[in-house]
């Protein structure tokens, strides 16, 4: 028994003693809430010997239908009286205190006549209090006080029961874990005020959809869509506040439900929100109860708070997983950058990963050569404007930032707008130097859409900046310095020879770039021209990871006719052509060859264009070598070659010899030779040079 129930008993007992009455408490249906207390002889005799009879009389009493709020006298049998005192409880409902019994003076015989004859009534009736006007008022006043006290007890008791229910609700939420279905089913089974529940959430930009329903006879509403303002649910989307509707069956807004044969009598809807606004609607109600008690409303609100918290928890968990994924990815990227001290790879990682992340339309790394006023752009996609102009603008902007007196942190990314779309720019810095800028074009039009990516991109750019600087300080620049040192050593002994070497390097670089060769190959050919006087074996010792020695060796074999021109690597071919050209022996060299097309023809063309107008630099749109490679790839695809032959031809065009192709494709040299022969047959060409030339011709004629 709870503390409050004990108090009720105590009060009943004290008042009964004081007024010589016995008391019981019932609800509005006559069901006993608190049993008999007191020593009234007539009440107790009737209660103990004829209990059912007395309680039946109390149950059947018409007193419940009277709208009294103060105690009154009521006759259970003719001449036998009790006081009925309403105890005020929740929202208009009452409990009832019955205090009796008493008889009127000189009515003992009359009373005895209608009672059971087995009992010695004379003694009982002698001790029964007599109802006199004076006593009557005293009793009524006393029972009024008792009813008031009992009312306070019951309200308190009810409050405790509500908190108990709320506690149970929290416990169920914890036990149900992520299963909203289990949680709602328990709620419905333990709270009869609610017979159904449901959740609606956004389905399209303007429409909401009932995604889940729980309880009986509510299934037809599953999948129902509605717009803001439509019916009860749509109204909440507009008002943004919870509502509890009563007598819903008479409300015209219930038409949406009636159409689906769902007929609630009471209905509530509570918006579930996060920082951005409404994320879902929780609704529910009853088919039998026309209204909600205050406690039920509070319980529904508690339920909504729990569900809302659950949604936020899910959202945060999801966000946490994403952040964890990003962090893991960032670690992998950092590991890759640290393990690959390769300038080109780092730039590629920056370009590709940023495009991956943003799902953008364009990404680029704009790099400025610290020794000259030139920039390099490594890009994917297009910024929807001239790439060169854009790159220049970006560098100007960041150059001014680095000298600006504003206290903007140098590595802070910025957002620019280009053609209405946002472009994120993250400087690649090392200390106070800006080495370049990572630019990512997005599809987003508003800042908040890209904000979540900013920190990741900034971190990527910071790691990228440091990695680039380390590579520059390390291998790349060391090799450049050593090549420079060895080549300048020649100047000390033979000034003219040095000039020729520099000329050779310049021509070799320009021509190889024009051929669309990868930058590493261009670098090898250029360096081979600068170091041609050294023996390949010496160069192999000095430069372990480059092909400079091989280019010189194979190139010299070509010059001395010790190797087959058509089988040679394009790097060696270019080296040989440049060397013989500077010796003034190009024509003689070429005349001795059977074929004068392909790379040779293009070399002549290059010489005609550049060496005649040596100082004139063409001002035209920048040629994008990878576009060129791309279009060559697409040209290759147009040829009637098998996919494998296409790959082989692609690599042939990149200047790889049969051995290198075999290594790249993990096939034998013999197989490569077979593929190459078939390619020659299908293209109707005699050798590599013709094959390359044909592809370029096709490309130009189609482009």
């Amino acid at each position: 028994m709870s503390h409050n129930e004990n108090l009720v008993k105590e009060l009943q007992s004290v008042y009964a003693e004081k007024y010589e009455l016995s008391t019981i408490i019932t609800d509005k249906n006559g069901e006993v809430l608190s049993g008999k207390e007191g020593n009234n002889p007539l009440f107790n005799t009737l209660y103990e010997h004829l209990e059912e009879n007395l309680l039946d009389k109390i149950k059947q009493a018409e007193a419940y239908s009277w709208s009294h709020s103060t105690p009154y006298i009521y006759d259970l049998w003719p001449g036998i009286y009790t006081i009925v005192a309403p105890i005020e409880w929740e929202h208009g409902e009452n409990f009832y205190l019955w205090a009796g019994l008493m008889i009127e003076e000189n009515t003992e015989n009359l009373v005895k006549a209608q009672l059971h004859s087995d009992i010695e009534w004379n003694k009982v009736l002698d001790e029964t209090p007599i109802l006199t006007p004076k006593r009557k008022q005293r009793w009524l006043d006393g029972m009024k006080k008792l009813a008031n006290l009992l009312s306070l007890c019951y309200k308190d008791l009810d409050e405790a029961s509500f908190y108990n229910k709320q506690n149970k609700l929290f416990q169920h939420a914890t036990q149900a874990g992520n299963s909203i279905e289990l949680f709602f089913e328990r709620f419905i089974s333990t709270h009869p005020d609610f017979e159904f529940l449901g959740i609606a959430s956004p389905s399209t930009e303007d429409m909401y959809k009932i995604k889940h329903v729980y309880g009986e006879k509510i299934q037809p509403l599953q999948g129902l869509t509605f717009s803001p303002g439509e019916g009860f649910l749509g109204r909440i989307l507009i008002t943004d506040k919870h509502e509890f509707w009563e007598n819903v069956d008479k409300d015209p807004r219930s038409i949406l439900f009636k159409r689906h044969h769902v007929y609630p009598k009471s209905f509530f809807c509570i918006p579930l929100k996060n920082d951005q606004g409404i994320i879902a609607l929780l609704f529910g109600g009853s088919y039998s109860r026309v209204n909600f008690s205050k406690k039920s409303m509070e319980l529904a609100k508690t339920l909504a708070t729990i569900v809302q918290t659950g949604f936020l928890f899910q959202e945060l968990s999801q966000e946490n997983i994403i952040q964890k994924n990003r962090l893991t990815s960032l670690i992998e990227i950092s590991k890759l950058m640290a393990a690959t001290p390769d300038y080109k790879r780092i730039i590629y990682i920056l370009v590709d990963i940023s495009l991956n992340l943003i799902e953008g339309v364009f990404s680029a790394v704009v790099l400025k050569d610290p020794k000259s006023e030139q920039v390099k752009i490594v890009s994917r996609g297009s910024p929807e404007r001239d790439l060169g102009e854009y790159a220049k603008e970006v560098l100007d902007r960041y150059r001014s930032r680095s000298v600006s007196t504003d206290h903007i942190e140098i590595s802070t990314p910025s957002i620019e707008i280009s053609n209405g779309k946002l472009l994120i720019e993250c400087p690649l810095c090392y200390r106070d130097n800006i080495l370049g800028v990572l630019c990512v074009g997005t599809n987003a039009e508003e800042k908040h859409q890209v904000e979540e990516h900013m920190s990741f991109l900034q971190t990527l750019a910071i790691i990228g900046g440091i990695s680039l600087q380390l590579v520059e300080q390390g291998e790349g620049s060391r090799m450049d310095k050593e090549v420079d040192f060895l080549s300048r050593a020649i100047e000390q002994f033979e000034k003219d020879a040095y000039k020729k070497i520099e000329d050779a390097a310049k021509i070799a670089k320009e021509f190889s770039l024009r051929q669309g060769l990868p930058l590493t190959l261009v670098q090898d050919i250029t360096n081979a021209c600068r170091l041609a006087v050294y023996s390949p074996n010496f160069l192999r010792e000095v430069f372990l990871d480059t092909n400079i020695a091989e280019v010189i060796e194979e190139g010299k074999k070509l010059i001395h006719r010790q190797a087959e021109w058509t089988e040679a690597n394009s790097s060696a071919q270019i080296f040989a052509l440049v060397q013989v050209y500077l010796k003034g022996e190009l024509d003689a060299f070429v005349n001795e060859m059977d074929q004068k097309v392909g790379i040779i023809e293009e070399f002549y063309q290059y010489l005609q264009e550049t060496q005649v107008l040596e100082e004139e630099i063409t001002i035209s749109a920048p040629v994008d070598p990878v576009d060129k490679i791309d279009s060559i790839t697409s040209t290759i695809k147009e040829l009637k070659l098998s996919p494998r032959e296409q790959e082989v031809l692609d690599l042939v065009i990149q200047g790889l010899n049969n051995k290198e192709i075999a290594e790249q494709l993990y096939i034998s040299g013999h197989t490569v030779k077979n593929h190459v022969t078939k390619i020659f047959q299908k293209l109707e060409v005699p050798d590599r040079a013709h094959a390359i030339s044909k592809v370029y011709r096709l490309k130009h004629s189609s482009g």
Binding site: E332, Y348, D352, I353, Q374, D624, V626, D630, L665
Partner: protein, 85 residues
């Protein structure tokens, strides 16, 4: 991005192709290298093709993917003229 859960696989794929720029591989082959299922990889590979990070050297029925190097634009003179590569 919408498919936030796919980001790690997307980055893994990108880094695999970057590390092996000459590799030409089928979906199954990539699956073995990354220990990923066919269904996980197909949407990612399609996305990477769309972004131009890889290219399909085969056809739609028998796709074979290879890394597609980014465009390296030739040197541009900051004074305004553009040099041809």
């Amino acid at each position: 991005m919408e498919n936030k859960d796919l980001l790690p696989i997307q980055l893994e794929c990108t880094m695999l192709f970057q590390t092996n720029p000459f590799m030409v591989e089928t979906v199954e082959g990539i699956g073995k290298l990354l220990n990923r299922s066919y269904d996980e990889l197909v949407p990612i590979l399609n996305l990477l093709v769309k972004q131009g990070i890889i290219q399909n050297l085969g056809d739609n029925e028998n796709p074979r993917y290879r890394y597609n190097e980014p465009a390296i634009t030739t040197e541009i003179d900051l004074t305004g003229t553009v040099k041809k590569a």
